[in-house]
Symmetry: D3
Subunit: 276 residues, 6 copies
Amino acid sequence: MNPLVIDPIIKLALAEDIGTGDVTTNATVMPETMASAELVAKEDFLLSGVAVAQRTFSLLDSAIAFEPLVFDGQSVKRGNVIAWIKGPAIYLLQAERVALNFLQRMSGVATLTAKFVKEVQGTNAVIVDTRKTTPALRVLEKYSVRIGGGGNHRMALNDGVLIKENHIAAAGGITAAIKRAQQHAPHTLKVEIEVQNQDEVVEALNAGADILLLDNMSLEELRAAVELIGQRALTEASGGVSLETVRAIAETGVDMISVGALTHSYQAVDISMLFS
Amino acid sequence: MNPLVIDPIIKLALAEDIGTGDVTTNATVMPETMASAELVAKEDFLLSGVAVAQRTFSLLDSAIAFEPLVFDGQSVKRGNVIAWIKGPAIYLLQAERVALNFLQRMSGVATLTAKFVKEVQGTNAVIVDTRKTTPALRVLEKYSVRIGGGGNHRMALNDGVLIKENHIAAAGGITAAIKRAQQHAPHTLKVEIEVQNQDEVVEALNAGADILLLDNMSLEELRAAVELIGQRALTEASGGVSLETVRAIAETGVDMISVGALTHSYQAVDISMLFS
Amino acid sequence: MNPLVIDPIIKLALAEDIGTGDVTTNATVMPETMASAELVAKEDFLLSGVAVAQRTFSLLDSAIAFEPLVFDGQSVKRGNVIAWIKGPAIYLLQAERVALNFLQRMSGVATLTAKFVKEVQGTNAVIVDTRKTTPALRVLEKYSVRIGGGGNHRMALNDGVLIKENHIAAAGGITAAIKRAQQHAPHTLKVEIEVQNQDEVVEALNAGADILLLDNMSLEELRAAVELIGQRALTEASGGVSLETVRAIAETGVDMISVGALTHSYQAVDISMLFS
Amino acid sequence: MNPLVIDPIIKLALAEDIGTGDVTTNATVMPETMASAELVAKEDFLLSGVAVAQRTFSLLDSAIAFEPLVFDGQSVKRGNVIAWIKGPAIYLLQAERVALNFLQRMSGVATLTAKFVKEVQGTNAVIVDTRKTTPALRVLEKYSVRIGGGGNHRMALNDGVLIKENHIAAAGGITAAIKRAQQHAPHTLKVEIEVQNQDEVVEALNAGADILLLDNMSLEELRAAVELIGQRALTEASGGVSLETVRAIAETGVDMISVGALTHSYQAVDISMLFS
Amino acid sequence: MNPLVIDPIIKLALAEDIGTGDVTTNATVMPETMASAELVAKEDFLLSGVAVAQRTFSLLDSAIAFEPLVFDGQSVKRGNVIAWIKGPAIYLLQAERVALNFLQRMSGVATLTAKFVKEVQGTNAVIVDTRKTTPALRVLEKYSVRIGGGGNHRMALNDGVLIKENHIAAAGGITAAIKRAQQHAPHTLKVEIEVQNQDEVVEALNAGADILLLDNMSLEELRAAVELIGQRALTEASGGVSLETVRAIAETGVDMISVGALTHSYQAVDISMLFS
Amino acid sequence: MNPLVIDPIIKLALAEDIGTGDVTTNATVMPETMASAELVAKEDFLLSGVAVAQRTFSLLDSAIAFEPLVFDGQSVKRGNVIAWIKGPAIYLLQAERVALNFLQRMSGVATLTAKFVKEVQGTNAVIVDTRKTTPALRVLEKYSVRIGGGGNHRMALNDGVLIKENHIAAAGGITAAIKRAQQHAPHTLKVEIEVQNQDEVVEALNAGADILLLDNMSLEELRAAVELIGQRALTEASGGVSLETVRAIAETGVDMISVGALTHSYQAVDISMLFS
């Protein structure tokens, strides 16, 4: 991830946590005291965000040494040391919580994504994310979806065309909506459209849609749609996706399954910073 | 919540989601089209964040009318309408996802908090949050903890003194650390210190600590500590707190129980915006 | 254009021009003096940016009335009145230059684009822009390209895949590069790749590229490439495009012609604000 | 130019271009790949902005080495290498377009300015710029005017007094306006006033104006005004200035000629970054 | 003062004071409670900043009514009511301290300036400020100097040329320094130079300086310099200026006397907000 | 002080002072000229802010060497050298005024605080500050109060509970207000309440207030209140505090005396930067 992209959110988080200063540390720790610490996993998970954690420390004090022992995309076992950190105790103490807040959430996203990816192994389907991300953290959460083996849906409203029910109604039908998108949206973007049934699938294909979002369809409907579509467009299933249902959905032959839960219902993994 | 405090995070979230513009809506919806919509609950939960959702719409277009039918702190049943919204279709479509992203998460925090609060009903204990909040959203999550019936621990490193193990080590012991905090931190702040056993409890009390953080103690140890402390200081239990264990912890007589999960492991509740 | 997107650049421009205050106006004009003015075209052109001009005045003082008489996309003749403006003289005088700086440049882009579009009338080719835009003004310039009848290439590095020579070299060949893009970039994006000759065209098609950028090819090469490609991919010509050469390029049958000059070599049109 | 002044605009431009990340480069280039490149002139021009280009690379990645071979104010011939660049390929590719967008525009301003300056060689007249600059780029464009041999008019509304027609009307006449400016504007600023004819010239001189802006006067009128004024004030001609007319205007003896075209109608010069 | 100029500093001050929220008011006052209050003078002074105070309230809540009874530049007596304020109690309480912090300081500057101005009444001399202003408040303090009857020296390093000893040394002498400034600085600016003795006065005059800064000269030296200079340049005295010495300095005939104390040693006047 | 906390205010101050560039230095000093300088005390004072001054230079140019010879909290005599500075002359000249503006004010606060602290030597009383600080500089001024031997009251409205008259009225009495604060404010904060007489003291004690603000009481009333309160709460005196009255107030036995003058009526100390 580009520093220009992630630094602002890290600085915002540090400012939010430090406020006007760390009154406890300022009162009890001498500025010249040096300290060493380790980031230690307290459970098993898939790591994401180690560079963000590192950057959190270095943005607070560029003199802090941070040596990662594990990298994004690697599995971590309870008790593993993720990184060694060394520097002024006052800055280690002030960056600790923010670095962990990032690392625990990003690893949570990657770990949950990896579970979905594992469920669909052997099928065609790619697990992709949605825009149901945490405000301000989208770029970090979507990165973690990739680390977990998933793919990214659009990052913002400008880098993907996704025509939903309300757009269709406003444009006066599926064909009209697709034509307008082909004409007015940048040609670098595929045109994706939400369809509810076979008739809409046919109309969307004829109008030249690149991707069909098969929303809230039954397994049977999905299978029928996939067959009907063939190679003429990519297919994306969404709605009612959980770890329990995802395998069956994947086996219908869809190309992608979008899962809101990847970014709105993950749990932070447990990581501690231990001073040594 | 003060607009000066919440507007920046709402604007950041809108900018993140809209990017350089909504290519789908711009291509398919006329700027002059008006629309009406409802925010509808898709499950039961405790509402938090309706003013943030409202502000999200009005920051994008001050001409949008947003009428809440339910307010923060009220229970919402699946199918309930939370608010009516009316305005230019292009702005309803562009604010929808961001408003929901806030509302679903804030209600998630409030709902989880309320479960913990209900568990400890009839005891002395107040459920309080921690600094394990989502970067950039702390003020919204901590507000939602209050909505759920919990209390707030410090908002940042400057509005509470919490002396932990590493501070004690750096200061040269519990007594020294407390004395330094009393002398150097603002007198508006209570002095809280982490203690591990009876000896440390006694030392901290003698040094004049206002709050004792009883970290990772067994129920028995907690009970003994509470008895020993009496009214001389407030007590806060932390570590190993879950919906299963919280009742027993509360029954030890502690004044507060801090729960990281309130803000790091909640799930977004399910809310939709339906156009009418 | 979304106010959240354009307001920051307008405010930046006002701040840049006003500095710490308008010493001339403050010294010579009473704050309570009201004034009326007109924006008048001093040459013929295609209008773009009237809403940006309006927003410039209203961001400085929301009490200023600004009534546009002509709208973006309409032709304006020398002497036409573009808008009536009324409000405190001190704010009219302070917003004048900034509003004109935007309006003159945006109309310049639209006017130049319209010339290119007119040249290729009757052919298949769409005139599109590039990333050779003025720093900080991209969204305004690309909007003006659309107003002039052109289409937009990617807005930023995140909303389009364009594999160039250096990417190909780094990835180890055309096929490898396309495969990596298909796998790692969001599926909402088409994959475009730069090709230099027939062999590369064939390789790119076989690897599944969505768009072929035919860079710096002769007319003959373009024609051959277009024929070879058929409907299997979109084609974009670039390099050596001017008002003199664009027609012949379009007649080779390419789908798009990208023109850097649209945004890097336009001339500001002449517009004055006259007080009445 | 001071980094504190130029860094914000460079960062804004990088953020605008990179968006949420470079999907093409991230997909096709390994982070550890190193690359070398050259900035090469594709036409003859006067160089301006090499330090801005250098800063663009180093703000994205401080590890990039950038060695300029030519400096601002020097003439560059087609084919000349302007700078050598070496560093991580992913950052060279991401900074390339932004660095060129600055360098090509700044050199465009300097080159155009130099043409005007050459035209008036041997006369008294200094070519100066106006406030008709590109929003957000004023400081860079005005710097480039100096590089091209021109002089700067005021940078913003606070660092020069320029009393125009509307100010005169509001103040109740030329004398009143000048007196008010002398009294209320900082004494560090000269007082300049726009005059239309001989009577106004005389009134302005008597009131103590430091500079007379001779607006849209014929050559004859200019000559007469210059003679009448003598050494009592500086003179500035404006209106109808082009490369064709500027020599004759200069020969009327005016001290300065302000040229809007320097910053509103320059063309970007052609520069490429070639990987080696 | 332009809202675009003052709003950022007001918002910064509100954010600084409110932090993450007003815990006292939030706990004790209902959001719907309305309140009325008065700003009351607790001593005699010259008022400056009433519009800034008003803006502070309205930026926090645009629904607050603020009716000024006295305006900037008017004398206020102990007990006078400066403004009536009405609105939500929670916002009156949160804006109170910030509004007063501005108003008390700005009136302090105006009051001190007025004392200096009164001392030199009947002489030629204008009292002017320096760059020894409070960081972030310069525009407000310099405005208050004008309200107090003084004049403004340069607002920043870009809107005035002031050649000091070190510049002279670097440029290789007084004449060289002045020539370089005339050539390289914008022609809208006068050239001011610091001189220490008669020889330097003569050299500076011959080189064409517009203003001579007579630094730390005795009254006798000032008188001699003023006589020598005549009408050939403006004169500014600085150094050792106090309410005790200023009259004598003014009587030497200098045009301006710059006083650092106006902005670095004023005292906040006493104003209270009383709820009614 | 944490760089994340102070850097924004330093950058704001530099931007305010430099504007679009230092026209004098740019015209007269070569960029490559190196210079050395000293910060020299022109009067006796207590130093505060040397790290802020150092940071000011290094934020402008990280290559400047700044070696402090004295540190915050040490006494400085007229003529003492505070720091040696070495680097490019153009940056020394541009940072000089801003660095001094900070250092002179911060030392002014520390020096005034130390005078109050000295007055109360031998008593129990701690001198504390208020929220009557200079907008934007609070964190620097409150730091300087600590350097001068004082203590800090709350930094913002979120890190201390201080119930004043209007809160009491709104809450329906002293007891109700205290109960609400205990329930709704973070438990990390003590509850302070303003009381006017003995009855209020008793009510506040019974309700469990942690700190009583004894506002505008006579010495006799203060003594009585202190005796009545005993060890049951901390006591703070405020109102009518000056260097003349503070000793007598301290001798009443109060724990703290809050002094608005520390931050609203200090005088900048005199420091010069001398080039060598």
